[in-house]
Amino acid sequence: MLSLQAAPDTAPLLLLAVGNASRGDDALGPLLAERIEALRLPGLEVQTEYQLQIENALDLLGRRAVLFVDASVSVAAPYALTELRPARDASFSTHAQSPAAVLQSYFDTVGQAPPPSWQLAIRGEAFELGEPLSAAAEANLIESVNAAREWVGRALENLRAESGSHQSGTPIDVGLVKV
């Protein structure tokens, strides 16, 4: 259990969604995860967390590409898809990590560059406890699900294209265009 080796059956792609389903638009991440998981896309593992922590770095072991999904108040509707680089958080609290900090934890722990990773930030508006998803967020979610599907589709296409010449376990070029 306590190793830095990927399990043999690790899916090459990971969608890691973050959010709390009971807090209004914070449910965007978990809801997107549910909808993508229902599609049963090959080569993709879908995982949901309340919030990211350092041990999520180990979930990246053996992946060829990773998509972090979270609600956001700082992007324009409906979403922003951006490539991530490892970066540190400066915080006074253990209560959350950013996706970039998870990549940094991976680097710190494993001693290697993390897999190519992207962030799908979905615009949210209201985050109160017990509130449902807002109408604006629901519209953003529909478009974001399509964006996630396209991301997975492109990643799988690249995986297939490289399968003949690419060495297993090394990073791939997902070939996504920044939005």
Binding site: M1, L2, L4, V18, G19, N20, A21, S22, R23, D25, D26, T48, E49, Y50, Q51, L52, Q53, I54, E55, A57, L58, D70, A71, S72, V73, S74, V75, A87, R88, D89, A90, S91, F92, S93, T94, H95, A96, Q97, S98, A100, A101, Q104, S105, D108, T109, Q119, A121, G124, F127, E128, L129, G130
Partner: protein, 488 residues
């Protein structure tokens, strides 16, 4: 014992400095400093927004949903809420839970303690402690730790992982666990799950012992810092077991004064409101609890690791007890009130959690099948345990239709509210008073807050948060300088 820096006589004439994470919903933490024209500190306040909306959220829901629902209150220690709610609801279903149920819950709880304490020390606190408070931000972080102490960073992540696996096997899932239910648990461990956890536990104990040793060496290297920084006298409160031993899952309330003299002992948690009163203050959203017998001025207290290791008479596992005695010896017979001592005490508890997990894994009851008990129904239940940051109280009342009609939660950060304020006032008085503010000086305020790692009701975690803004505002209310750190 209340500090004279709580309220300045003429705040309108003073310069205001706010240290403020700019999150967009609940969970804000902010420090405001009022300085006079000579940079003398006149007022220091920590503002934390408490849980809000929970009672409305849960009202009218059937009680059996509560242990799962409350996990959505907090993303960092959902297991603590899961178990505290379950303990309260045990009383409502009239259950004396079975040995298997209690041991599975204990296993889950010590898994939570282990992973939370590991995260706190290895990830949040160790950069400050290893490199000092004035080190530039780029080095005062886990990258610096990894570069100079590579094993520390790796062990921190793997200890977290182990704690999460304990939780997954006992709660059913890594998050949104359903393992604990009113009256017991809905699963025990399989032989395979038990073997998997046993395979790594001795390595975990070894790492935990190493963590205690590391924090001890840090203290010994700079005793003048560790014994003074943020030190303030206060009462101590925690649960203890029937023999006065440390027990983080169950027990009765014990309080000591600042000299460690007993104030009360074996006080039943079902009557906690007879011992603890929650006071409100106009400048803070969060309540200020105090011991009823001593009143608001003298009755506030510390909870959490530093209180627990000094409140108990012994720790019932050998390595942790030896570590506790070594820790207490540094006080030379006097109680230890230094804020940085929280970290050492926390690592003693990390070791206790690891040893407790080992003992439970060797107990055949954890594979038992007698999981749930029932008894005479009641309308009220109180569940109390020691969460990673301190005493956690869940109190529920239901109606004849089994719906929740009232809920009251007192979380560890609320218990520590006055203590955290005192810690930063001591730091401000000692290090900031009369000096030009620098990032290193302001970091000392954060170091004190980090020692407590307050719960920020942060189960909402969306992107776009800026964790910290420092604003310097002159006496006329004009912002003259502003520093923002990006990240989480």
């Amino acid at each position: 014992m209340t500090s004279d820096l709580e309220t300045a006589p003429h705040p309108e004439t003073l310069r205001r400095v706010a240290i403020e994470p700019l999150s967009r919903v609940e969970g804000h933490g902010k420090v405001t400093l009022l300085l006079d024209a000579d940079d003398r500190v006149q007022q220091v306040r920590l503002h934390i927004v408490e849980f809000r909306g929970f009672e409305k959220f849960i009202q009218g829901r059937p009680y059996w949903e509560v242990p799962v629902m409350v996990q959505r209150l907090c993303g960092i220690c959902p297991v603590s809420h899961h178990l505290a709610a379950s303990k309260a609801l045990d009383q409502i279903v009239g259950a004396k839970i079975t040995p298997t149920a209690e041991k599975i819950r204990r296993l889950m709880h010590y898994g939570q303690i282990l992973q939370s304490h590991a995260l706190h020390f290895f990830h949040l606190a160790s950069p400050d402690l290893l490199f000092g408070f004035d080190t530039e931000i780029a080095r005062r972080n886990i990258v610096g730790v990894a570069a100079e102490y590579p094993e520390v960073a790796r062990q921190g992540v793997l200890l977290r992982k182990y704690g999460q696996e304990v939780i997954r096997h006992t709660a059913g899932k890594r998050i949104h666990g359903t393992g604990s239910v009113p009256g017991g648990v809905n699963k025990s461990l399989s032989a395979a799950e038990r073997a998997e956890l046993l395979a790594d536990i001795y390595r975990v104990i070894g790492w935990a012992r190493g963590a205690v040793d590391l924090v001890r060496r840090l203290h010994e290297a700079q005793p003048e810092l560790y014994e003074v920084f943020g030190s303030f006298r206060s009462n101590l409160l925690s649960l203890v077991g029937p023999s006065g031993e440390m027990d983080l899952y169950d027990g009765k309330l014990r309080a000591r004064d600042a000299d460690r003299a007993l104030l009360f002992d074996q006080f039943g948690t079902n009557r906690y409101w007879e011992a603890i009163v929650e006071e409100t203050k106009p400048w803070s959203y969060m309540k200020f609890p105090y011991l009823r017998a001593l009143g608001p001025e003298a009755g506030w207290y510390k909870v959490g690791p530093l209180a627990r290791v000094q409140n108990c008479d012994q720790i019932p596992t050998p390595f942790a007890e030896a570590a506790r005695r070594e820790f207490l010896d540094t006080g030379h017979g006097q109680p230890i009130h230094a804020t940085l001592a929280y970290h050492w005490a926390r690592m003693v508890e990390l070791l206790f959690a690891a040893e407790s997990i080992k003992e439970l894994l060797h107990d055949d009851d954890i594979e038992g099948h007698d999981l749930v008990a029932r008894g005479e129904r009641a309308e009220r239940g109180v569940g109390v345990l020691e969460a990673p940051r301190g005493t956690l109280i869940h109190h529920y009342r239901i109606n004849e239709d089994d719906q929740i009609v009232r809920a009251n939660l007192i979380v560890s950060t609320t218990h520590n509210n006055q203590a955290m304020n005192e810690a930063i006032r001591q730091v401000a008085r000692r290090y900031l008073d009369g000096r030009k503010l620098t990032e290193g000086l302001l970091n000392r305020i954060e170091v004190a807050i980090r020692a407590f790692d307050p719960c920020l009701s942060c189960a909402t975690h969306a992107l776009g948060k800026m964790p910290l803004a420092v604003e310097l505002v002159d006496a006329g209310g004009v912002t003259v300088d502003r520093l923002v750190r990006d990240g989480c």
